[in-house]
């Protein structure tokens, strides 16, 4: 794409900062060409350089706190050789023509953008260099770039990018784009502060919930709990609340629209609603009983089946068996669900926090009966997501309400709504059996069962590949309680179970847990069984690295006990050692050591904080996280009964990245999975009690 546009028009459209930004460039730019001499240089949808030297980099991916609004533009700036302190970063809206994969999920932003973003910057730099060479009438080979300038080496002449913008915008896009030698990186691999940091600390950062528009109403919605539906509603009291403008019944829900959030809430509280059963509303004991039954039998279609685990059990001197239990977990991002919608007869504008704007548009189009190209989706910075905002229920709901109300509307969920809102990390049970013969591990059999999960396992992950007899079965349990991806789906619990069970086996064999893992990894390397998702060598390296960092095997301070955990997810290898103590039945995690192989690190500050956050997130949920149900209703409705980790419980953390010249891998999720096992294994070292049921809660009831 090649676009010419004058500065006035550019500013006009860019300040809208919504969807369709790039498309509107075209129309304006043609007129602009005729009018003015200077043009903004915009060789692609990733950057724009205006004649006054302003460099704007677009951030197309949803920013949920994972740092892509900083790290992806860094890739462009690196190859552009821009002066980072001079660039502005703007959030783009949904634009499927110009961008790929505008999704915050699967730890995939950097992995999928690594090449294209750098090429966008490199192409622009080549054109700027060419423009300068032409101006000076010198060979391009004599020119190079540095921090926003093109420099003619023999004469020392310089021109800044702004002065070259107009000329560069007249050039053809280069046919071949040459990327930098990584040794020449100046930005990639440094510690760069989040581009929104100053706005955040001064309260100026607008999140979705801060959206304010002319004529907008605020809505709160009464929704049924799982397994119930609307029978009758009396809204007479609600309509008397000052500020309440409309009450709308739709899809088994009741929306109250008002001139303020407080009025909407009071209005909703004043509704008299009768709900009735729609099927059988479930309670925690119901699904727990069902899951416990499922794991007693195998499936007809194992997810993986190497050798013969049954035969191995028959031959075994001993069979170890352990059952692990995972509760449902809500995502509970600190900014509750909300979305803005302004739906007209022939078009719609949607704006707010979404990890998947494309899905939002597709589903809204279907529900509204509008073509997709009549719907714009703008993205706000999100107050966390953890997977919850991969769903489109709350954004589509806002669109429905706006359409029915014929008004722009911001739908706001209370914390209580958010806790009941579904798409949880599924509850599950994992039953492991290990066969041991001649003090060797000969077989490994997992039967998993989880709520609404066709596959609750990660069957090609370690220790798959290391054992001759290895089988994984996974049962799906259907329930009205909705589930969805939750930071590091499946990994977030399976790592805890696998890595705890490996420790149990090591204990049985009389082996050091770390040495035992290394032995298995060597087996996977030398005589691999089947295909596996991981590279044994890279796995071995993080295990060894963290053992060294965490003084594994050495006598620590008195009263401090160590535990180990490692896991591979989203292309990244993570190993952790936790130092803990237990006093009066209370676990205190003092320090976590963490070795990471995620390949190249784009932004050290961002990468480190993702790992730290993942560890604290995983630790908090392992210690406290659980929601339970009574007749379809969540019993933990707010943070007074649903406990999240707080500052006094947060350990000190030391992170090291290794193997940083390989291609970059995922980072938002992989830090989380290993911590549960590292801490549980340390608890065993401290107390002799094996944690198999999460959350840990108080240690007096850890037996399942």
């Amino acid at each position: 794409m090649k676009t010419l546009v004058n500065r006035r028009d550019f500013l006009k459209v860019s300040t809208l900062a919504g969807g369709g930004l790039m498309l509107s460039f075209h129309a304006n730019s043609l007129n602009a060409l005729l009018e003015e001499e200077t043009q903004v240089f915009q060789p692609n949808a990733f950057l724009a350089i205006s004649p006054d030297g302003t460099i704007t980099l677009m951030a197309p991916n949803p920013e949920v706190g994972q740092g892509v609004k900083t790290s992806l533009p860094m890739l462009v700036a690196e190859e552009l050789d821009a002066d980072w302190s001079m660039v502005q970063v703007e959030q783009a809206g949904l634009d499927t023509k110009n961008y790929q994969r505008q999704v915050a999920g699967g730890s995939g932003s950097v992995r999928s953008s690594w090449e294209s973003f750098r090429k966008a910057g490199a192409a622009a730099r080549q054109m700027l260099t060419e423009a300068a060479a032409k101006k000076w009438n010198v060979p391009v080979s004599e020119c190079f770039t540095d921090k926003g300038f093109v420099i003619h080496k023999p004469t020392g002449r310089t021109l800044n990018y702004g002065a070259l913008a107009t000329d560069a915008s007249k050039l053809d896009l280069p046919k071949e784009v040459k990327l930098k030698d990584p040794r020449d990186y100046r930005l990639i691999g440094r510690r760069i502060v989040n581009v929104d940091a100053q706005k955040i600390v001064t309260g100026k950062m607008a999140y979705g919930i801060d959206t304010r528009r002319e004529g907008m109403l605020t809505a709160m919605v009464a929704r049924p709990v799982f397994g119930k539906k609307l029978k009758a509603v009396d809204d007479s009291r609600a309509r008397q609340i000052k500020g309440v403008k409309q009450v709308i019944v739709f899809d088994n829900k009741v929306a109250v629209l008002a001139t303020s959030t407080w009025a909407a809430k009071k209005g909703r509280d004043a509704l008299r609603i009768e709900w009735e059963d729609d099927g059988k509303p479930e309670s925690t004991t119901d699904y727990n009983t069902a899951l416990a039954q499922l794991i007693q039998k195998t499936t007809n279609e194992p997810k993986r089946n190497d050798g013969n685990v049954e035969e191995a059990r028959k031959q075994a001197d001993k069979v170890l068996e352990s059952i692990f239990y995972a509760p449902f977990l809500p995502h509970a991002p600190l900014e509750p669900m909300n979305f803005f919608a302004d739906v007209r007869d022939d078009r719609a504008e949607l704006f707010g926090p979404t990890q998947t704007p494309a899905r939002t548009r597709t589903e809204a189009a279907r529900v509204l009966g509008l073509p997709e190209d009549k719907i714009t989706v703008g993205m706000s910075r999100m107050g966390g997501g953890f997977g919850r905002r991969l769903q489109a229920d709350y954004s589509v709901e806002a669109a429905q309400i706006s359409k029915l109300a014929k008004s722009p509307v911001l739908v706001v969920w209370t914390r209580e709504d958010d806790m009941q809102g579904g798409f949880y990390r599924p509850a599950g049970m994992y039953r492991y059996r290990a066969s041991i013969k001649n003090n060797q591990l000969t077989g490994w059999h997992l039967i998993a069962a989880a709520a609404n999960s066709p596959n609750a396992s990660r069957e090609n992950n370690f220790p798959a590949g290391a054992l001759p007899n290895f089988r994984v079965d996974s049962h799906n349990y259907s329930t009205a309680i909705t589930v969805g991806p939750w930071r590091a789906p499946n990994h977030n619990f399976i790592a805890f179970t696998e890595e705890s069970f490996i420790d149990e086996i090591a204990l049985e064999l009389g082996k050091d847990p770390v040495a035992f893992r290394l032995e298995l990894l060597e087996q996977a390397k030398k005589q691999p069984v089947g295909t596996v998702a991981y590279e044994p060598d890279r796995y071995i390296n993080v295990v060894k690295k963290v053992a060294e960092m965490g003084n594994w095997g050495k006598q620590g301070e008195k009263g401090i006990f160590k535990g180990f955990g490692a896991h591979f997810s989203f292309g990244t290898y993570v190993a952790q050692v936790a130092d803990i103590s237990v006093e009066n039945g209370k676990v205190k995690v003092h320090k976590v050591y963490c070795a990471v192989d995620c390949g190249r690190v784009i932004n050290y500050s961002g990468a480190e904080t993702q790992i730290e956050g993942g560890i604290i997130d995983g630790l908090g949920h392992m210690l406290y996280g659980e929601i339970t149900f009574k007749n379809g209703e969540v019993e933990q409705k707010n943070f007074n009964t649903y406990r999240l980790i707080r500052l006094p419980d947060a350990p000190d953390i030391e992170v090291e990245f290794i193997n940083t010249t390989a291609d970059p891998q995922g980072l938002g999720e992989p830090g989380l999975p290993p911590i549960g096992a590292a801490v549980a294994n340390a608890i065993f070292a401290a107390t002799g009690k094996r944690i198999r049921k999460l959350p840990v809660g108080s240690l007096s009831d850890v037996k399942i």
């Binding site: 600390v201 991002p333 953890f386």
Partner: protein, 154 residues
């Protein structure tokens, strides 16, 4: 509805709202001061923390009719966004999603005003009411120590 005059960030505002309206929603909906955030509405998360006469309070459970004194919000913590706590937060790149941070900063600033050289135990006690779902606690602790080094209370 009733009329209330509030002193916020050294300016007087008059609002016409129901007396039971929490200060949080007056700030956010009536005065467009959206830097103060909603997280729980039940004084559990600290996202809505503002200063009332210099002390940190949860604005989500403070009815507008009960307010006596001067309110400071994140927007008024410093004129140029350069309170030592704000500076330290930027320098150490504390925020992930950032949603909790206005509340964290207001609580930390109030702590330093009261106790210019807090110990780790003081920090634990003061900050325990502020949830960060993204888990930035390690950096928060570090940033408070850095803010102390920068002159702390201002």
């Amino acid at each position: 509805m009733a009329t209330f005059t509030l002193s916020i960030n050294n300016r007087n505002y008059t609002v016409d709202v129901e007396p039971d309206t929490p200060l949080l929603w007056v700030l956010r909906d009536e005065l467009n001061l959206t830097g103060t955030k909603y997280g729980c509405g039940v004084a559990q998360c600290g996202a809505c923390t503002v200063h009332l006469n210099g002390s940190p309070v949860r604005s989500c459970t403070l009815p507008v009719s009960a307010i006596k004194g001067k309110i400071t919000t994140i927007e008024g913590l410093s004129e140029n966004g350069d309170h030592p706590v704000q500076q330290a937060w930027v320098e150490l790149d504390v925020a992930q999603c950032g949603y909790c941070q206005a509340g964290q900063i207001m609580t930390a600033a109030a702590l330093l005003a009261r106790k210019p050289k807090p110990t780790d135990a003081d920090i634990d006690a003061a900050m325990a009411g502020n949830i960060c779902r993204c888990g930035t606690y390690k950096r928060i602790r570090k940033a408070i120590h850095l803010a102390v080094a920068k002159g702390g209370a201002k």
